[in-house]
């Protein structure tokens, strides 16, 4: 039986232009936890988050063929937190600036000047603990 079992078709990483990015997943750099559904922030500490990109079919995108991309984030309310982004690694260091128990959301903005493509993903939930 074990010999019969084959691995499900693997959604292996591919290279693709920004236009083919259909979804993202947000991964906590320290813990590896998937924080797409909920990012918990603990003042005064900062959290580093990696943005993983996916095609519509679910394949993870390893590299953007129309890089470099401008990578930005926005918070709602804007006083929720501040962010320092790394457009090469697609990572962001988020520092909470609102009071504890403040809920909010954040969004991811990507822009490729080479292909004149814009993508926005979100809102993603945030809670200041």
């Amino acid at each position: 039986m074990v010999a019969l079992a084959c691995k499900a078709t693997a959604p292996g990483p591919v290279d693709a232009p920004l236009a083919q990015v259909a979804s993202v997943q947000l991964i906590d750099a320290a813990t590896g936890n998937n924080v797409t559904s909920h990012l918990a922030l603990y003042p005064p500490y900062s959290s580093q988050v990696y943005v993983h990109l996916f095609e519509a079919g679910g394949q993870q995108i390893a590299a953007l063929t129309d890089a470099p991309v401008a990578f930005g984030v926005t918070f709602s309310p804007s006083s929720l937190a501040t962010a320092i982004t790394d457009s090469v690694l697609l990572s962001v260091v988020v520092t909470p600036t609102a009071a504890s128990n403040t809920p909010g959301t954040w969004s991811i903005h990507l822009h490729s000047a080479a292909s004149m493509t814009d993508k926005v993903f979100g809102p993603f939930n945030v809670l200041i603990h």
Partner: protein
């Protein structure tokens, strides 16, 4: 008047945990005398599963389980020991068999949707004791290291109408996902027609790659209550309500309440044409949003001449973007559906086993927001299988079918 003692009658209706099946489809023989009785049944589906479209995938693997119970007289009542195991951790490679619209599970650091994940190697390890309080009243306690609490319908693995169908219902996480909870305590009270239960259980789910339950942070943090009525031999009605604590690991979810109702129908084994059906409706209500996330299922099977089974399942589920690993890309909630039909033909039989060749095709229905991700508003799934089914009781075969 039913001549079977009420303790044995109550046990004979069990579907894994304490949920009741119709009398015509019970998993244990209802004994009229006081001896020890064992019942074993199991199924091994060696299957090729595939999905089409943007999310095309395929896998050869095996969905399988074996379930055994031993019951006998102890003191004034009856003791039951239960064990259910599966080899899926080794035969259904992670993240699982392709099945579109299934809830996302973690795989190599990211969430992967559209897979039927493998079960743990141990799905039931339990004991129950039932003591008669009179000729028509019994009280019991059910304790499980792994088991099914009083929340939801009988798990799909044991439903008569689903016995020829190896695929996981889309509504599993709204209906019977707690069937292998790692820690359950249930108190029950039953007459010959009515069953009332209350459970506390561990709401945590397995972690990716786990073979056995993880008790490292186990607590009885969830609860459920259920009422069941078996008004006649062929029918069972149930209603339930409960609370499931926030889950981590394989099936991440917020804390939620869960409610539902079900009707199961099964005809006895005799007859050239034997029907079984399930109608289930329920909902999760996440405590964070208070919004209803409903699901509904109708499944039916018809066994002809004890050698051919036709089966179908139609479902509606309100999925969240989180369940599809598409937060931030699609609306937070989406209505999806599926309609599947299949057939299974017995190709060989023995005294306590039989071999079946079968298949199932499914058309899913997704909203426009999901069309870019699935390549169509009507994406397709298919599975073909060779199944070995064995046991000394009829729940190991399609209802109405001798091995």
């Amino acid at each position: 008047m039913d001549s079977v003692p009420i303790t044995a009658r109550t046990l004979a209706r069990r579907a894994g945990g304490t949920a009741w099946l119709p009398d015509a489809a019970g998993m244990q023989p209802p004994v009229e005398t006081g001896g020890w009785v064992g019942a074993v049944h199991g199924s091994v589906f060696v299957q090729y599963a595939a999905t089409a479209g943007t999310r095309a995938a395929e896998q050869v693997g095996s969905v399988n389980w074996i379930d055994g119970t031993l019951t006998g007289p102890v003191g004034p009542g009856r003791l039951s020991l239960g064990l259910m195991a599966s080899a899926e951790p080794w035969t259904l490679p992670a993240p699982g068999a392709p099945e579109l619209l299934q809830v996302a599970v973690p795989d190599q650091g990211v969430l992967i949707a559209d897979r039927q994940p493998p079960h743990l190697a141990l799905m039931n390890l339990s004991t129950a004791y039932l003591a008669p309080l009179g000729p028509n009243l019994v009280a019991g306690v059910f304790l499980a290291a792994v088991g099914d609490p009083a929340l939801g319908p009988p798990v799909y693995l044991h439903r008569p109408a689903a016995s020829a169908d190896p695929t996981l219902p889309l509504g599993h996480h709204t209906e019977d996902a707690t069937h292998a909870s790692a820690g359950v305590a249930t108190l029950e009270l039953a007459t010959r027609r009515v069953h009332l239960e209350g459970s506390v259980f561990n709401g945590a789910h397995a972690n990716p790659g786990d073979v056995l339950p993880d008790y490292s942070s186990a607590s009885l943090d969830s609860w459920g209550i259920r009422a069941t009525i078996n008004p006649a031999m062929r029918s069972s009605f149930a209603a339930w309500y409960g609370y499931v604590a926030a889950g981590t690991g394989l099936h991440v979810h917020d804390a939620q309440h869960r409610a539902g109702i079900s009707w199961l129908y099964a005809e006895p084994m005799q007859g050239a044409r034997v029907w079984a059906a399930s109608v289930i409706a329920g909902a999760n209500i996440p405590t964070a949003t208070g919004r209803l996330l409903p699901a509904a299922l109708i499944e039916a099977s018809c066994t002809l001449g004890q050698a051919t089974t036709l089966f179908s399942r139609v479902e509606y589920v309100r999925r969240t973007a989180a369940e599809l690993a598409l937060i931030g890309s699609v609306p937070s909630e989406l209505n999806v559906g599926a309609a599947g039909v299949g057939a299974s033909r017995r190709v060989k039989r023995g005294a306590f086993w039989s071999v079946w060749l079968g298949g199932r095709g499914t058309i899913d229905v997704v909203p426009a927001a999901l069309e870019p991700f699935y390549g169509s508003r009507r994406p397709l799934n298919a599975v073909v299988y060779l199944a070995v089914r064995a046991g000394n009781h009829h729940s190991s075969m399609p209802v109405g079918t001798a091995p």
